[in-house]
Symmetry: C2
Subunit: 391 residues, 2 copies
C-alpha cells in the first residue's frame, strides 16, 4: 500500500483533502442536523429547469455534442451578460464546463504551470488552491486584512506576494467566505497591478448579484477591462438557479483562446451533456424571477444571521457586503475544527471550519444563509444556545 | 491576440486539436450524411435509463453529493464486475467520474508529471495523448505492427520505447480504432514488463464485451493482477448503454489511492450529478438485456462492413477481433485527411481520418459500425461507389 502511494505523482499527492468535506463526512448522517456547511440553498432546482432536461432526454438528446457547448446556450449566456453589464457579448467567448469548479481548473491549467505561482487571497474557497496543487503549481496565499470580522484585500498585500514565478491572481468578489466585495477603484488597482506584472486574472464573480450594498450587482472587471485583456471569467449555474448538483458552469474568455480552451475541454470531460444544457438554457432565458427570489431569500437570511450573531459577546462578526455566507469567529474554542465538529455534535448545525479556507481562517466558522427564514432561525437559535453554554 | 497566446501556459498550447472533431466540424451540417465518425451508435439512451434520471430530478436530487459517487452506484458497479470477472469487488475501489475521458485524465494526473513519459500504443484514440500533453507530460507513441490491415502490439515495441522518464503505459484492449484484442499471454507479458520497470498501467478495457473471437469477454488485467497492483482501470457508461452524451464514467483503483483520487475529483468537477447517477444505477442493475442487444447490433454491423470491404481491390482491411470499428486503408488517395473529407463531400459518409489516431494511421480511415443494418449497408454502398469511382 505504501509502495503504491510512493508511486503516485508528487503533485497529485500534495493536493490537500477538503476541510469542508471533512466536516460533511463527520455530520452527514446526524438525524435532525441543519446543514449550513455547503455553498448551496435548501431549495431543489425549480421545476421548469428540470423539465427542460427531461424533455431533451425524451427527445433523445443523448449523443455527443459540441465540446464548447450548444450554440443556443452560448448565445443565451451572451444575452444574459449583455443585460447585466450593459453591452454586447460575443457568444464565441463562452465555453460550457462541467461545473464552476472545472471552469476554475481549466483556467488554472491554461495559465499556471509546474513550479509557477498563483496568488490566492485568503480566506477563500479552498478548491482553487487544490486545482493549482494538482497541476504542480504553487498556490500562494495572500492574507486579507481583518478588523472586527471585516476582511479586506489590499493591492499592497498582492504586491508583497508577487515574485518572478507568479503567473496569475485568483480574484473572487463578492467573496466566499468573507463577503468582501471589491469596489471599482480596487478592481482598477488590481487590474493595473496585473498588467504591470503581466499576470492573468482568474475572475470568480459568481456571486455578482448577491450584494447587500444597495447596488444591483457587484462591480466587475467587465466594467473596466478590454476584451482581449488577460482575464478569464468563471461562471456557474449553481448559485443563481439552485443547480449546485448539476455540475454545470462556463468560462468567458477572449476569442483568441478558442482553440486552446476547446482542446482543454476535449481532453478533460469533452463537454457537457446536451440535455443538461437545455436546462441551462431554460434557466438563463426564463429564470430571472427565480434568481430574484433567491437573492431575496439570501437577503432575509443575512438579516436572520446578523440578528443572532451581531453583538454576541463570544462572536466576532461583520455582516457581509456580498455572497451568502456569514464568516464569524468564536472566542473560547481551541480551533475552527473543534468549533465545527462540536456544532455538529452538540448543536446539530453543520458549519464549515474556517481553516478549510486558509490558515488565517483559524478560529472562524462559515455558515451559508441561503435558506428559509424558519430553518435558519432554528439553526441560529441552536448556535446561540451552544455559545451561551460554553464556559 | 498573439500576445494573449504567448501568455498561455506552454503545455496548454501544446495540446493538439482533435482530428476527429476537425472531420465532424467539416461535415456536421451536410444534409443526408451518415455519421460513422464518432464512437457511438445510432440509438438514443433507452427509456428506462433516462426515466431514472427524470424521477430523481422530480424527487429533487439536485444538491451536492458524494465526490466519489453514490454508494448505491458504487455497490452496483462492484456487482457488475463480480458477474463479469467471477470474483468479489470492493465498492470502495470505484470512483465515479464525469466521463470515461475524465477517468483517463485523472489517471494520467495521478501517475505522470511534467516532462515524464507515458507509453501510448498507436494508432489509438487521441485523447489520452491530449490529456498527457495538457499536464505537461510526454505521450510517447509506441507503433503497433501492421500486416494486411491487422494491427498487433508487441512487448518488444514497449521495451524499445521505455526510458528512465517513463511512468505509465496506456493499454487499450479491445482497441480503438484497430480492434486489436490482447490475449491473456500478452497481458501477462505487459504486466511483467510494467512490474520490471515500476510502471503504472492505465487499463482501458471499455470494449471488454465487444469481442468477436467467440469469447464472452476480452481477457483482462483483472484476470491476472493483484488487487494492490499499479493498475488503474477506466470505465464508461457510454458504449454499453448508449450513454455517450451523458459524460459519465468511473475508475476502478486500489483502495490505498482513495483519498488521493477523491481529491483529484474534488478539484476537477467535484463529482457527478446525483440524478445522473440514478440513471447509471438503472443501467448497471437493469440494463444487461440492452448491452446484449447492443453487442448483437455491433456483431451484425461488423458483418455488413466486412462484406463490403474485405477483398475490395483498393482497400486494406482485416475484420477486427474486438470493439466496434473498422479501420481500413484506401489506396490511391494522398492522405487520411483527403479520404475523410472527400468521403464527407462526395459520398456523404462521415469517417474519422486515421491520422487522428497517430502518425502511423496515415492512409487509414475509421468507421464505427454500431448502427442499424440498413443505415450501415447504405453507408458502405456509398463508400464502395466512391472507391470504385476513383481513378
Amino acid at each position: 500500500m505504501g509502495d503504491l502511494m510512493s508511486a503516485v505523482r508528487p503533485a497529485a499527492q500534495r493536493a490537500p483533502a477538503s476541510g469542508i468535506i471533512a466536516a460533511v463526512n463527520h455530520g452527514r448522517d446526524k438525524e435532525g442536523l441543519i446543514p449550513l456547511w455547503a455553498g448551496e440553498g435548501d431549495l431543489p432546482t425549480p421545476r421548469f429547469i428540470a423539465d427542460a432536461a427531461t424533455r431533451a432526454l425524451r427527445d433523445g438528446e443523448t449523443f455527443y455534442t459540441y465540446p464548447r457547448g450548444l450554440p443556443a446556450l452560448r448565445e443565451a449566456l451572451a444575452g444574459y451578460y449583455e443585460a447585466l453589464y450593459g453591452r454586447p457579448f460575443d457568444p464565441d467567448t463562452f465555453y460550457m464546463t462541467g461545473s464552476g469548479m472545472q471552469a476554475i481548473q481549466l483556467c488554472v491549467a491554461l495559465t499556471v504551470g509546474e513550479d509557477e505561482e498563483i496568488l490566492v487571497p485568503t480566506p477563500t474557497w479552498p478548491n482553487v488552491s487544490g486545482a493549482g496543487a494538482v497541476i504542480g503549481a504553487r498556490p500562494v496565499p495572500v492574507p486579507m486584512d481583518e478588523a472586527d470580522g471585516r476582511w479586506v484585500l489590499t493591492v499592497e498585500a498582492l504586491e508583497r506576494a508577487v515574485t518572478p514565478a507568479t503567473r496569475a491572481i485568483f480574484l473572487n468578489s463578492p467573496a466566499n467566505p468573507t463577503g468582501w466585495t471589491a469596489d471599482l477603484a480596487t478592481l482598477e488597482r488590481v487590474l493595473e497591478f496585473a498588467r504591470r506584472h503581466g499576470l492573468w486574472i482568474i475572475a470568480d464573480e459568481i456571486y455578482a448579484r448577491f450584494v447587500w450594498t444597495g447596488a444591483p450587482r457587484a462591480p466587475s472587471f467587465l466594467d473596466i477591462a478590454a476584451p482581449d485583456e488577460r482575464i478569464l471569467y468563471v461562471g456557474t449555474f449553481s448559485k443563481n438557479w439552485a443547480m449546485t448538483g448539476w455540475r454545470m458552469g462556463w468560462i468567458h474568455a477572449p476569442v483568441a483562446l478558442r482553440q486552446t480552451l476547446e482542446n482543454l475541454i476535449q481532453y478533460s470531460t469533452s463537454g457537457v451533456a446536451q440535455f443538461l444544457q437545455r436546462a441551462g438554457l431554460a434557466a438563463v432565458t426564463e429564470g430571472d424571477w427565480f434568481v430574484r427570489a433567491t437573492i431575496e431569500r439570501a437577503r432575509v437570511g443575512r438579516e436572520v444571521v446578523s440578528e443572532a450573531l451581531a453583538g454576541h459577546s463570544r462572536v466576532t462578526y461583520a455582516p457581509p457586503d456580498g455572497a451568502f455566507y456569514a464568516f464569524f469567529k468564536v472566542a473560547g474554542l481551541a480551533s475552527s475544527r473543534e468549533a465545527a465538529f462540536r456544532l455538529i455534535d452538540e448543536a446539530l448545525v453543520g458549519t464549515a471550519p474556517g481553516t478549510a479556507f486558509g490558515a488565517n481562517g483559524e478560529g472562524y466558522v462559515r455558515v451559508c444563509f441561503l435558506r428559509s427564514r424558519e430553518s435558519l432561525a432554528e439553526a441560529m437559535d441552536r448556535i446561540v444556545r451552544f455559545l451561551n453554554a460554553l464556559d
